[in-house]
Amino acid sequence: MQKRVRLWSIWLQVAILLTFVAATAFIIIDVRSKPAGKSDLKIVVSQLRSHAAESQLLVEQAAAQHLTSTYLISHTHKLQEMAQSLSKQLNSIKVDASLDVTRTRVTELATALNNFLGNVPQSSDGHSDATAMKQSFADLVSQLIEVENSLKE
């Protein structure tokens, strides 16, 4: 029985290795057939869209007095850090010339998200400010969805 286990272990290790090699080959072929950086750009856009949508929910909940002030400040700061990190990531993505305009637009939207988040802790105290802020995030989400759809094949 022990011999069977060892044999089985070896076969499984070989199978995992072969699958890994096949997957790598598949990815190389797949990547070559697509415009450079398109999928990377799409991933960044979808993350920005998610952060913008989350920021909108955050502002709504803050306005409804559902959050503690420490939570609001900490979580907003985390979302801001993530938006900044995505902005940096955008600069490092290599894209075809045809996608340069899109990248510039996404960078602008990332900057806008970062700026809006910078205003959140102050604005959540006043209801009218919160409503305006909510609308700003909602507009940002719509624009990011539009870009995301344009990047889908």
Binding site: M1, Q2, V5, R6, W8, S9, I10, L12, Q13, A15, I16, T19, F20, A22, A23, T24, F26, I27, D30, S39, D40, K42, I43, S46, Q47, R49, S50, A53, E54, Q56, L57, L58, E60, Q61, A64, Q65, H66, L67, T68, T70, Y71, I73, S74, H75, K78, L79, M82, V141, I145, K152, E153
Partner: protein
Amino acid sequence: MKKFLEIFLGILTAMGGFVEIGELTFALNAGAKYRYSLLWVVVLGTIGIIVFGEMAGRIAAVKGQPVFNLIRERAGFGAGLVTLIAANVVNILTCAAEIGGVALVWQLLSGFPYRGLILIALLFFLLTVWFFSFQAIERVFGLLGLLMVIFIITGIASGPDWTQAANGFIPNVPALTSRQEYFVYFYFVVALMSSIMLPYETYFYASGGIEDAWNPADIKLNRIIVIIGFTLGSLLAVGLIFVGAHVFMPRQIEAQLPGTAALATASVFGRWGLLIAVAGMFFAFAGAAIETALSGAYNMAQFCGWPWGKYRPPRKAARFNYSWMIIFVIAALIMLTGVDPVSIVEYSIIFSVIILPFTYFPVMLIASDPTVMGPHTNGTIAKVLGWFYLLVITLAALLALPLLIITHGGQG
């Protein structure tokens, strides 16, 4: 009465210890991306962990042997060593992610700097594991992890479509628009199943049975705890999928932070919902951090034949005690580099799928061997389920890495 209390506490502990940061993230995002379509994976994974958890617990009760003894004995030194290294890399990565999760949760309550909180968390874990008994650790973190039930209540309060949800429990593949989206769906299938069947849970559970001095009389206790406790625990995963489907999907949010999960409970129950969720996540992540560090130390000690166990005086199990301390320190150092805990756990979950067959195959063989288990050997149902799940996890192990790469870590 004492036995009843023991069973009751065991069930609650198994339930409370079911969710960790990886499962939280994958379950929320599974709901946010595919609504109820991945509920069947929770059922598949839960039955799987029940099958192998029960076998590992039964072996511990009958033979007094934990999982890594069996792996070395049955798979041999070479394959055993590979499994040990892989298992402990996964344990360290998972422990790192849980420490990061604890620091993030504390930051939501205190606003203190993240890196400072990681160091405080490290100190907290070292002192807790050093001073608390195994039973105290198991009970405190398991029982207080039950605060996570707030996610089940939120999931139900946010109004599920019960007919559609019931359909989600039947294996299905939703209609998607591109090949890439199908890859992402299957990535979530593999990751969600793996997050439920994480191997450290079995290492910890079987070693815990030995820490608790189980004997063949405890086989029924083992069975009841595993079946009821893990089933109730899976309700937490279902609750998280509901939360993802009802709160995050309509808003197109993908959870990447523990704070995002708390935002969902706040939206339904206000400030109390937020605080209960944050407290629940703390106990769930802290419990998982301790379990992974101890599992790593159990694995090392059992493989190398060192004396081990929290029940022994530290001097009599010195290398075991050094092992869990070193694991905590390495895990904290990883987090101090600034790496995102959720990204780490995503990778650790996918890599843990790869070692699942190596972990569970020896368990299956021993539990089916009448010369070892005597009258407590696997019955027909256990054998059929055991072989079926070995097939499933082997397939998942083969697909895990390619899917991780093709889908850019599930991001599309």
